[in-house]
Symmetry: C2
Subunit: 337 residues, 2 copies
Amino acid sequence: MRRYAFTKADGRRLFLYTEGAPPGPPLPDRVRGRAGPSHLRRHPLLGEWVIYAPARQDRTYHPPAQACPFCPGGEVPFRSFEIAVFENRFPALSADPGPPPELPVPTRPAVGRAEVVVYTPEHRGSLATLPQSRRRLLARVWRERYRELFALPEVEYVFPFENRGEAVGVTLSHPHGQIYAYPFVPPVPAREAEAFARGERLERWSGLAAYRVAERPGFRAFVPPFARYPYEVWVAPEAPHPGPWTFSEAELDAFADLLGEVVARLDALFRRPMPYVMAFHAAPKGVERFHFHVEFQPRMRARDRLKYLAGTELGAGAFTVDVLPEDAARALREVAP
Amino acid sequence: MRRYAFTKADGRRLFLYTEGAPPGPPLPDRVRGRAGPSHLRRHPLLGEWVIYAPARQDRTYHPPAQACPFCPGGEVPFRSFEIAVFENRFPALSADPGPPPELPVPTRPAVGRAEVVVYTPEHRGSLATLPQSRRRLLARVWRERYRELFALPEVEYVFPFENRGEAVGVTLSHPHGQIYAYPFVPPVPAREAEAFARGERLERWSGLAAYRVAERPGFRAFVPPFARYPYEVWVAPEAPHPGPWTFSEAELDAFADLLGEVVARLDALFRRPMPYVMAFHAAPKGVERFHFHVEFQPRMRARDRLKYLAGTELGAGAFTVDVLPEDAARALREVAP
């Protein structure tokens, strides 16, 4: 993998990653952005930081395909590329978010990074349809971004994720993910780190036959017996790793290939692209005892039915699930991807 | 307020609440249900109980208006009623959920209650359009349900809520709310109870002019300075109460009237009914130090834009907000309801 670094016309950083030829000459860079100010406020009852980024209210919303900012010549001013990473034009977190306001609650600068990871120059596709060579390159990109972003002194947590489908509010369908680098440890990985510190072990559930979905050497895809979403799938190495930064080349390859198979199985389940949130769960900075895994939160509970989070989940925090994990695992195992 | 108690043909409990005449003779009770088994599983990494209710997969989904189960003669087999409360036909929690399966994670019976609260026999309407006399009756019903459900030895938390609008997955538009009575304290009120126990005080924010939306004697509606949703509104008594069970008649009246005004303002904001989750946050059983409040989580961030929760919120637990609380409060204060 080689990386070529650029500074866009508006000052944002752009990286092109390739296994092949270097990028050709740049095209005019027409997509301009400028981070609006953003800041953090402390939620005193929940003990969480909330990110305020009012400039995001004006972000790009369902552009027509010919105006896709992620196709070559848009945000990436080159005729082609393999994988591109650049700073979000409407960042929730940035290197220079401005000073926070003085308020009746604690505030902090929303310092960090919000990056876009474009998987391919092709406008259509998914993790399932990318060639394995591209998925492997993507896994190497994730590993490199983890290392580089964790090295920033202000960053406490690095979070690659993918929102897929209009049902989860995705306004740009070109295959892409995102990476948030937070100046705090968000609540979910904080709770997971506490669980691993007190001795919980992912290996207790990841290898159970009734929950198996697919596998690759050293990696497992499974429905956790305590899934909170219908058809929720986790992908994890068999042995604990704090994050992909400790994966070997062979492990990255197996991991990437298994992610592709999971998406293919989710898409095959209802014979339509499954809307989902794919979330990477790696260790917070400085935490060694953690078992990295990827969680897919699908948004459909049947072919024509979306799963909504509502009062019990969002108001009280208690999830209700209609599909038993054992049944979900069997369905995903038996469907032809 | 008088209550008339019935047992439906399938054994479910039904209560009719009235300020006026007793109910007339019953009609044939045609809507039959039977709780499927449900159980709880412990999520070992998040430390949460997850509710599994596979029979809910077959629940009623967008029936035509003439088949509305909440209109008179449906679930409530009477020609008319004021407010009706009955056990959910597809309950997540019930008095007799059956034994939990033996699994590789801890399980428990999903014992508790899941009730439906029908606000009116009219198929159309909302908390904003109900007459104040009906809203006051509704507040008295909530108070009575809190007292009765908390008295059940298996119940640790009582949670009235309302999901409104297709955007939050509501499949039945007849004005109604729900009450879940859980055999555990869900994560959100558990965290709030910790916050109040260590001395956080809602009065620090509820009276600030910049965050004010509306008020009634002894009650305030405000946008918290740490809102996690655009146009989030809280309604709370000025002085701490653990829950509505300590409200006087005059306080119930003011509370109910203010809830109606908040919904009217949310509906006026984009000149369309605002989809929302309305969640009651009362003290868990046995907790005295708590400040009861109602949280409205609206689902729109602009007239034609829904707010979606995605990767950062659902994967990491870090909320991003586009609308500053000060701006939201001003807009809600200035709009003509």
